[in-house]
């Protein structure tokens, strides 16, 4: 597995969880990653998963560690499948150019953006090589199939991995007020400004906790000050996944108002934690809402007013997530089985290409 970024809490990331799930099924997994904070390469085992971590000189999104490129290129054929994660262009293209036996790619980004420069070469390269593209949402698969109708067999819907056990075990944080929680990159597309604006229409007993960081942080902080709600909005930055789970268990309502999204995993995690969700009316969220049902997920229009968001938060407060909603969430075994099926299909397709060439 190739993943572009390493973090100290790597062993609770989704890539690592997927690796563990596959390892438990007897698959030998090695994770290759890179880290801008390290100066030396390292190889270690973390919860049964072998990991190679290489230093990359720049934290820039497109930088690729030289040693990672060298190792991947040299040893690609030793692996049955190379599975690249993330929209990191250099990493994904390196995976295709290494001519692996079989290739799988999980974009971890909205397909709408992946179809345009500078990401479109990745999808073309993966599909052209015969690799499989794994999407977390059926609507994302639909977009990709519409763009590549002849490659429909290479586009797979694999439900996102939700660490149900970890979430249910997480200890809620003691709090005195209603917590509205937002988790995600601080970017314009995620419309955290709407959530901040809705706080002005809510009682002072509600506080907004924003987990995440990004370029829009300064503007969002200024927006909160400008609206006079900065005393009720907390920007906590990025926190480890275990802490995110604790916040999900603590929150009164989880809010996801992004205009574009590629995965419903945050909604699944919130529902797992027993927290009702207010989400924007986009395809991925509609898909999650139809799976989980009301009152767990309420949808608001993407162009609506912050008053509409405030009303939805009020309506969602105190809603009890029925057990039937949680039972409908796809389990990790289903996710692991689907992933293995995509690997098998990629290997099968690749072997036919090799036979045809020989």
């Amino acid at each position: 597995m190739l993943t572009p970024r390493y973090s100290p809490a790597f062993d609770v990331t989704r890539v690592h969880a997927l690796a563990r799930a596959l390892t438990s099924r007897g698959v030998e997994v090695e994770v290759l990653t890179q880290d801008a904070r390290r100066t030396a390469a390292a190889r270690f085992y973390s919860r049964g998963v072998g990991t190679r971590r290489y230093p990359v000189p720049l934290a820039h999104g497109t930088s690729l560690a030289r040693e990672l490129r060298y190792y991947g290129g040299r040893h690609a054929r030793e692996f049955d499948v190379i599975h690249a994660h993330g929209a990191h262009p250099s990493l994904a293209l390196m995976a295709t150019r290494a001519r692996p036996r079989a290739l799988a790619f999980t974009p971890n980004a909205p397909i709408q953006g992946m179809l345009h420069h500078p990401y479109s070469p990745i999808i073309h390269a993966v599909i052209g090589y015969g690799g499989n593209v794994l999407c977390s949402a059926a609507s994302e698969c639909g977009l990709l199939c519409a763009a590549f109708p002849r490659a429909a067999r290479q586009i797979w819907h694999v439900p996102p991995l939700t660490d149900i056990e970890c979430i249910e075990r997480a200890e809620p944080i003691a709090r005195k007020s209603g917590i509205v929680l937002s988790v995600g990159r601080l970017a314009q597309v995620n419309r955290i400004d709407r959530v901040i604006a809705s706080m002005a229409a809510m009682e002072p007993s509600y506080r907004l906790t924003v987990i995440g960081d990004g370029r829009a942080r300064g503007k969002l902080v200024a927006h909160a000050v400008d609206l006079g709600v900065s005393d009720r909005v907390d920007f906590v930055g990025w926190v480890p996944t275990a802490a995110v789970y604790r916040w999900l268990r603590t929150a009164t309502v989880f809010v996801a108002l992004a205009e574009q999204e590629y995965t419903p995993v945050r909604i699944f995690e919130a529902v797992c934690a027993g927290t009702p969700v207010v989400a924007s009316d986009i395809a991925v969220h509609r898909e999650a809402a139809s799976l989980i049902g009301a009152p767990a997920v309420r949808l608001v229009s993407t162009m609506g007013s912050p008053l509409e968001v405030a009303d939805a938060i009020h309506a969602a407060t105190g809603a009890i997530i029925p057990q039937s909603s949680r039972e409908r969430l796809p389990g990790n075994s289903e996710m692991a089985d689907r992933t293995l099926a995509t690997y098998a299909a990629a290997m099968d397709a690749r072997s036919r290409v090799d036979v045809a060439r020989s």
Binding site: D193, R194, A197, A200, A201, K219, A222, H223, V225, D226, L227, G228, G304, S305, P306, L307
Partner: protein
């Protein structure tokens, strides 16, 4: 909500034309000496009088908003230039999903027999400036005939004194992302008396307000923002 300052001759053309079924009428009086309050009480015994201690339209509106107890707030001028009979049009727009409804003299069906060419040009320039900053489509920035849900009050936070209050409100609702609809409105000549509006002075105040709000959005705690705000106070 009607701010007044020596509007006794004009109130007989305003208060009786209010539609039926209004929850309350608030008159914010800025110390009139011509019997405005008595006239208001005679015309409408159920009127609520709020006495303004400070000065200026902005200050009056802030007081009036704080006193409102209904679900919908409508701001009217007391000089007879705005027609209370248009209120149902505003309320209908609110019922159709708007958070804030702006009257516009330049929307199709609107008009004005009071506006001068200089004010028209100035209004256009200032509206264009706000539209370019905030992505809005205001056609009439400096018109005080508005209606909104009372829930919008936390976004208005009126903290200015003068005629720039309408611009301030329009900019703040745009920054908050509230849904704004415009409805056509006809502005008639003032019935009697002289306006307190001074074109150049108030135009500069409006421009300064736009600048201050723009700076506040970018750097809310900067010294320049504070200076602009003190200039307006």
């Amino acid at each position: 909500m009607i701010p007044t300052l020596n509007e006794a001759p004009n109130l007989p053309y305003v208060l009786p034309r209010l539609p039926c079924g209004i929850h309350e009428v608030i008159v914010v009086d800025g110390g009139s000496t011509d019997g405005t309050v008595a006239v208001a009480r005679t015309l409408r015994p159920d009127v609520r009088i709020v006495t303004q201690v400070g000065h200026g339209k902005g200050d009056a509106m802030a007081l009036g908003f704080a006193a409102c107890s209904g679900d919908i707030v409508v701001t009217l001028d007391a000089d007879g230039s705005t027609d209370p009979a248009e209120i149902p049009r505003f309320v209908a727009a609110l019922s159709n999903g708007a958070d804030f409804v702006k009257g516009s003299r330049f929307a199709q069906g609107g008009g004005s027999s009071d506006i001068t060419r200089l004010r028209r040009v100035g209004n256009r320039i200032l509206s264009g400036l706000v539209n370019s900053f905030y992505g809005t489509s205001y056609s009439d920035l400096c018109y005080g005939y508005n209606a909104f849900w009372k829930r919008c009050l936390p976004y208005l936070r009126v903290d200015c004194r003068g005629f720039e209050v309408e611009t301030l409100i329009n900019v703040r609702i745009a920054k908050a992302g509230l849904v704004v609809h415009e409805v056509p409105s006809y502005e008639r000549n003032r019935i009697s008396g002289a306006s307190n509006l001074h074109v150049m002075r108030d135009g500069i105040r409006v421009l300064t307000t736009i600048g201050a709000e723009r700076m506040a959005a970018a750097r809310p705690r900067s010294r320049l923002t504070g200076s602009l705000r003190r200039l307006l106070a």
